[in-house]
């Protein structure tokens, strides 16, 4: 590699994180550590009914007996679960504020800085946002308008109070508490997150979005999201995340469950930009996320799109259980790792019903000293007649100190089903760089352009409002300068 390329690479790794500021705000926390008292504290703070507390305690007793899953290609020191705060709320949040005048102006300012204005007159046009700060939901926009259509969009805490029947029936139905240790942990201590219910036949007219922010130090964020799309309905949901720069690693272990009934469609997009740590690998979020969707009904569809650029560690496999006949699962992913970041991400497509289809497009880009792994499983069970999967995973290496790994598991038990899988790994194409530079683009611009092109198949799946943002984010994670 010539010296110029090396210089450019060097400037990339001096990546600056623009969301790294801290909001000085008093917060209320229980003691550090995890035991039944912590869980009782959370449940009490949330004013939860007894059945919810029971549910949490059951999950906790499962968690105590479990070990962390070990399959991922990740290297990190053991997590000390007793050295974490499990709840943190800005003071005065015993009840969710009724409107913005009750919200601490510092919080509003925080979100303004993050580009998520909460004031009604400024809210993102066409996007309803639920905003979660540490452990509590701060505000939900456009609520009234959605209610007219019968759509429920609120914090999960509120849903437990107001829609106990739905929660009792569906919470944990896709990801059982005992699935693995992170799902058990989340089930025991989850604090907030979003709840969405789209009634039969309703096409949700706007994007629903949750914005997660970890602010407090040494605090885990354990959000829980549940989205139910009833027969024939449609919803597109987007999640974004940031955290301040801190030298300690912080734990984020979310659970997201999706259920799509007959003819329903859920599109779930994530732009994950948690603090990734600095260029020496100090600090950053440990992002252990379980996301699973159930295509319960005939002709249902669940589509995951993710752009993962942040976090010191990403451990995440948004999955689809394709149970209904003719149901469709999709997974589109861009994962960029730089410096000492590690990502082990992919999907799991389980074909149960007849004629089920799945598609996986994964693009991994490794820079610096990072390790980037695609791990995916496609399985066709006995009854999945005529099921089909197409998988394409491509990796790009920029620099010679990083790693790119592809670990697909392919399992077919049905002789009418067809699986096609393709993967490639290569370095950034020197001829393409030369061509772009001959037209006058700088080396950095050329790399950014080519990488964005490499990711296009995925980025174009994002809702319009966010596609441009995501493209910028991709460039930023490569460049180091904020655009």
């Amino acid at each position: 590699m010539n010296s110029e390329t090396l210089n450019t690479l060097d400037s990339y790794s001096k990546n600056k994180y623009k969301y790294g500021f801290v909001t000085e705000i008093d917060s209320e926390k229980p003691k550090k550590g995890l035991d039944e008292d912590t869980i009782r504290f959370i449940s009490l703070k949330k004013n939860e009914p007894d059945w919810m507390l029971e549910w949490r305690l059951k999950a906790f007793s499962k968690w105590k007996k479990m070990k962390e899953p070990k399959w991922a290609n990740l290297n990190f020191p053991e997590i000390d679960y007793q050295d974490i705060y499990y709840y943190s709320a800005p003071k005065g949040f015993d009840k969710k504020p009724k409107d913005l005048s009750e919200v601490d102006p510092k919080l509003i300012e925080t979100y303004n800085k993050l580009g998520i204005p909460l004031e009604e007159q400024k809210v993102l046009a066409g996007v309803a946002v639920d905003v979660v700060f540490d452990s509590v939901s701060v505000a939900t926009t456009y609520k009234g308008e959605l209610e007219k259509l019968g759509i429920i969009f609120c914090s999960i805490g509120e849903a437990i109070q107001k829609h106990p029947d739905l929660i009792k029936k569906y919470l944990g139905s896709v990801i059982p508490a005992g699935d693995h240790s992170f799902s058990a942990l989340n089930s025991a201590v989850f604090t907030d997150g979003s709840f969405v219910y789209i009634p039969e036949g309703v096409k949700c007219p706007m994007e629903l979005s949750t914005y997660f922010r970890i602010n407090a130090e040494n605090t885990g964020q354990f959000e829980r999201t549940l989205i139910i799309a009833d027969k024939g309905s449609y919803v597109s949901y987007l999640e974004g995340c940031t955290a301040p720069k801190r030298d300690d690693n912080q734990l984020h272990a979310a659970n997201v469950e999706l259920i799509a009934f007959e003819d329903a469609e859920i599109k779930y997009s994530t732009v994950q930009n948690w603090y990734p740590g600095d260029e020496d690998g100090i600090g950053g979020i440990y992002n252990f996320v379980t996301k699973r969707g159930l295509c319960a009904g005939k002709n249902s569809k669940i589509s995951w799109t993710q752009v993962e650029t942040g976090s010191a560690i990403t451990w995440k496999y948004p999955s689809c259980i394709l149970k209904g006949d003719n149901s469709i699962g999709e997974f589109y992913s861009v994962a960029i790792t730089n410096n000492f970041q590690q990502a082990d991400t992919g999907t799991k497509m389980t074909h149960i019903g007849k004629n089920t289809k799945s598609k996986i497009i994964s693009k991994g880009i490794s820079l610096g000293k990072s390790q980037n792994t695609y791990r995916g499983e496609v399985s066709f069970l006995r009854k999945a007649d005529k099921a089909r999967n197409y998988t394409q995973c491509d990796s790009l290496l920029v620099g010679n100190q990083c790693g790119a790994h592809t670990v697909p598991y392919i399992d077919s038990k049905n002789n009418t089903a067809v699986i096609e899988h393709e993967a490639s790994t290569s370095k950034i194409n020197e001829d393409q760089l030369y061509y772009c530079r001959q037209r006058g683009l700088s080396h950095e611009e050329a790399v950014s352009l080519i990488v964005n092109g490499f990711c296009k198949q995925v980025l174009q799946e994002l809702p319009m409002e966010f596609a441009v943002e995501a493209q910028k984010l991709v460039s930023i994670s490569l460049e180091g300068s904020v655009g």
Partner: protein, 246 residues
């Protein structure tokens, strides 16, 4: 002097390709280089554009009062050097329009000119595409991706007319074009031609030179220019081939 190549010797992978090559081009001139396959024509074009795989053994190149070797690839481009590639590379996922838009703006930035906005650029692109008989739909596609050989060449010329270079090097832009396309492409070149810019046209057929009248024709064999003169040389080559120059 506009472009001055003096005693240039170039090596790649232990193979000497250009050997003490000399060439001078003045403002407003059109030069043609003809030579058999493998004589080093594309190598010369790539060395001028700054491709990094070559080892310069000897010689110097001056371009618009700069020592060319002081400039990297993009700086040369921004200074007004344009290479229409013999084999344009496909760049999947990178859309033509924003690609060219950033290219023109990086040149304007260097020249301290105002950047051109989205709308005016789109207009400019459309009208130039029209001139070259390029379907507007093509502008929605990724750079060179899935283009036929002829489409690639036409698209190179489109980029040239947008970037309006001081020195345009056309590396076998004529090959792979049918007669109609050749007319359109050479029309594009002739329209662009002024007294302030220069062209270096690489070809190994005389056909192209029926449409673009060169001021000088050079014969390149085995890494050196063995003969220079007017368009009569092209006719000689057409008749007898390169044999007698070797």
């Amino acid at each position: 002097m506009f472009l001055e190549i003096k005693d240039l010797s170039v090596k790649i992978e232990n193979k000497n390709i250009l050997k003490r090559l000399n060439l001078n081009i003045n403002k407003g001139e059109v030069h043609a280089i003809m030579g058999p396959n493998g004589s080093g024509k594309s190598t010369l074009a790539n060395v001028l554009a700054g491709k990094e795989d070559y080892e310069i053994l000897n010689g110097r190149i001056n371009f618009k009062d700069n020592d060319l070797f002081d400039l990297n690839i993009e700086e040369r481009a921004q200074e007004g050097m344009f290479l229409a590639f013999q084999y344009p590379v496909e760049i999947p996922g990178v859309n033509i329009t924003p690609f060219l838009h950033s290219a023109i703006n990086s040149k304007r930035k260097r020249m301290n000119e105002e950047e051109i906005d989205n709308l005016s650029f789109a207009k400019l692109l459309k009208s130039k595409a029209n001139d070259l008989g390029i379907n507007i739909d093509m502008l929605k596609r990724s750079v060179n991706t899935g283009f036929s050989g002829g489409e690639k060449k036409r698209y190179e010329i489109l980029q040239m007319s947008i970037l309006n270079p001081d020195l345009a090097i056309l590396d076998e832009t004529d090959s792979g074009l049918d007669i109609d396309a050749l007319k359109i492409v050479t029309d594009g070149v002739n329209k662009l031609k002024t007294n302030d810019n220069s062209f270096l046209i690489i070809t190994h057929y005389q056909k192209l030179l029926n449409y673009i009248k060169p001021d000088y024709v050079h014969v390149m064999v085995n890494g050196s220019i063995v003969k220079s003169g007017g368009s009569e040389i092209a006719a000689e080559i057409e008749k007898d081939g390169f044999q007698k120059f070797q």
